[in-house]
Each structure stands twice: as structure tokens, then as C-alpha cells.
């Protein structure tokens, strides 16, 4: 996972890149011919100093290695921004950054 947050005045512009195959369950393995099972991020939560600002539910139709860009108001240097995801197999990841 990667995160980049930039302060523009009191707004934090946050860009997040997650590393996930986002399998639709429709793709076949080119060698074995077997269907690759559904595997995708279902929930993404972003927090600002521990307070939830964005709570997202996703389908398998979000692109592979999902990218999301959002903006948080009332941000200042030293604030912590964290993003977590959880997929349909219960796998998780999270990342945190501090504004400067």
C-alpha cells in the first residue's frame, strides 16, 4: 500500500494505491483454464486523527491495484491520516501517514 497526503491550505489531498488482484471471478487461468476465484477488496475506511471520514464498500469492478483520491477538510500539519482495507477473504492491510 502507498499513501501520499499533501496539505493545500486546510485541505489534505490524499492519494492511496492498494496492491490487490481484484479478481472478478470471470477470468480464467491462461494455462490451466480454470476460473480464478472471486477475490476483491470489499471495504475501505479512511480516518483523520482516528475519526472515520470515508467508509467505502466496493465490488470486484474496482480496478486491479485500486487507486483512490479524496480530500479531508480541517487538516493541519501533524495530523494523522490512515487507510485500511479488508477483502472478501478477510485479508487486511493498512497504512498511516502524518501531514507535514
Amino acid at each position: 500500500m502507498k499513501i501520499r497526503a499533501q496539505l493545500q491550505g486546510d485541505v489534505a489531498d490524499v492519494k492511496v494505491l492498494m496492491f490487490h488482484p481484484m479478481e472478478t471471478g470471470l477470468r480464467k487461468d491462461p494455462i490451466s483454464g480454470e476460473v480464478i476465484p472471486l477475490h476483491f477488496i470489499q471495504r475501505v475506511v479512511a480516518t483523520h486523527n482516528g475519526k472515520t471520514v470515508m467508509d467505502a464498500q466496493w465490488s470486484q469492478a474496482v480496478s486491479k491495484n485500486p487507486f483512490v483520491n479524496f480530500r479531508i477538510r480541517g487538516a493541519k500539519p501533524g495530523d494523522k491520516i490512515a487507510v485500511s482495507w479488508e477483502d472478501n477473504k478477510g485479508e487486511r492491510a493498512s497504512i498511516e501517514t502524518t501531514l507535514n
Partner: protein, 167 residues
């Protein structure tokens, strides 16, 4: 976590190559965090709207999210390409100027399951989201905004050259 290798790739995709390199580097990050060095933020136990995401007909999708009546709005700005060369990566950028925007829904009308994503906008978040979605074929991208318990919509037609759901 390694990117899938495709046998065919359109020419002139060096940016994709660069992107894949970024992905490879990023796997190291994931490994670091997976090791528990950074504790994952506790995810809310809120429900994933299975009925809405599983719906195959647009009418059912709308019903499942409670959007029985939807008003067109020029206060929703939807930026998406008119022609998407690769249906696997269609950038969409949404800005809502509707006061009290609570939720943004992203729908690709002709995808096998039309609902792509739901973004709950809590206090402190600007009603702006930019992301990338997959589209199986050319269709409308439909953005619904829920504000004050009412639903508003903006649409844009996206022509997809190569579909991005199967392959």
C-alpha cells in the same frame, strides 16, 4: 500479490510497465505492514450491501440501495473518458456540489453487476472521489448522490474498446 502476466498487451503501454514496477516495490510495503509493524485500523462492522452488489439488473441495484426516485442533477460533476481504450482501468472523478452529500454510488450500467462502489462521506470529507473502475462493455457510468435522504444522478456514456471484466 504479483501482477498477472498477460500474453497480449496493446503497444505503447510503457506507463503500465512503470506502474507494474511501482506495484512490485509496493509489495514490500504490504509485507512490512502485514508483519504487524503497523496495527491495522479497526474496520467498522457495518454491513457490506450484498443484495445491492449482487444485483444484475440496474432496476434491482437501485431498489437495493433504496433509490426508488432519482432526480437528475447538474450539481454532480462526473469526469470519465468518452472513450476508454482499456475497460480494466476507467478513471472516474466525482464532485458533488449538493449540500449534505452523504453517500456517492458508482454504477456501470452494463456490467454483470452494475454497482461498483459506495462511498460514505462523513463530516470532514469533501464530496469528491477519484478512482478507477472496470467496465465490461460500453455503457453509461451513473453516479448517484444521496443527500438529505434524496437521490440525485449524473451520467456519462463511456465507450469501451477492450472490456475489462473477463479476459
Amino acid at each position: 500479490m504479483r501482477p498477472t502476466v498477460r500474453t497480449q498487451r496493446p503497444p505503447g503501454k510503457s506507463s503500465r510497465r512503470k506502474f507494474l514496477r511501482t506495484v512490485a516495490l509496493g509489495s514490500a510495503y504490504v509485507a512490512t505492514f502485514a508483519a504487524g509493524w503497523l496495527h491495522p485500523v479497526h474496520l467498522l462492522a457495518a454491513e457490506w450491501n450484498k443484495a445491492a452488489f449482487d444485483a444484475k439488473a440496474l432496476a434491482d441495484t437501485l431498489k437495493s440501495i433504496g433509490a426508488s426516485s432519482v432526480a437528475d442533477s447538474d450539481q454532480i460533476q462526473l469526469k470519465a473518458p468518452e472513450i476508454a481504450e482499456n475497460g480494466a482501468i476507467v478513471p472516474v472523478e466525482i464532485t458533488s456540489r449538493i449540500p449534505g452529500t452523504q453517500t456517492i454510488y458508482v454504477i456501470a450500467d452494463k456490467n454483470p453487476q452494475p454497482l461498483v462502489a459506495i462511498f460514505d462521506i462523513a463530516a470532514g470529507l469533501e464530496p469528491f472521489i477519484s478512482t478507477r473502475i472496470k467496465m465490461g462493455e460500453s455503457s453509461k457510468v451513473r453516479v448517484l448522490v444521496k443527500a438529505g435522504g434524496k437521490f440525485y444522478v449524473a451520467t456519462q456514456e463511456v465507450k469501451v474498446t477492450i472490456g475489462g471484466c473477463g479476459g
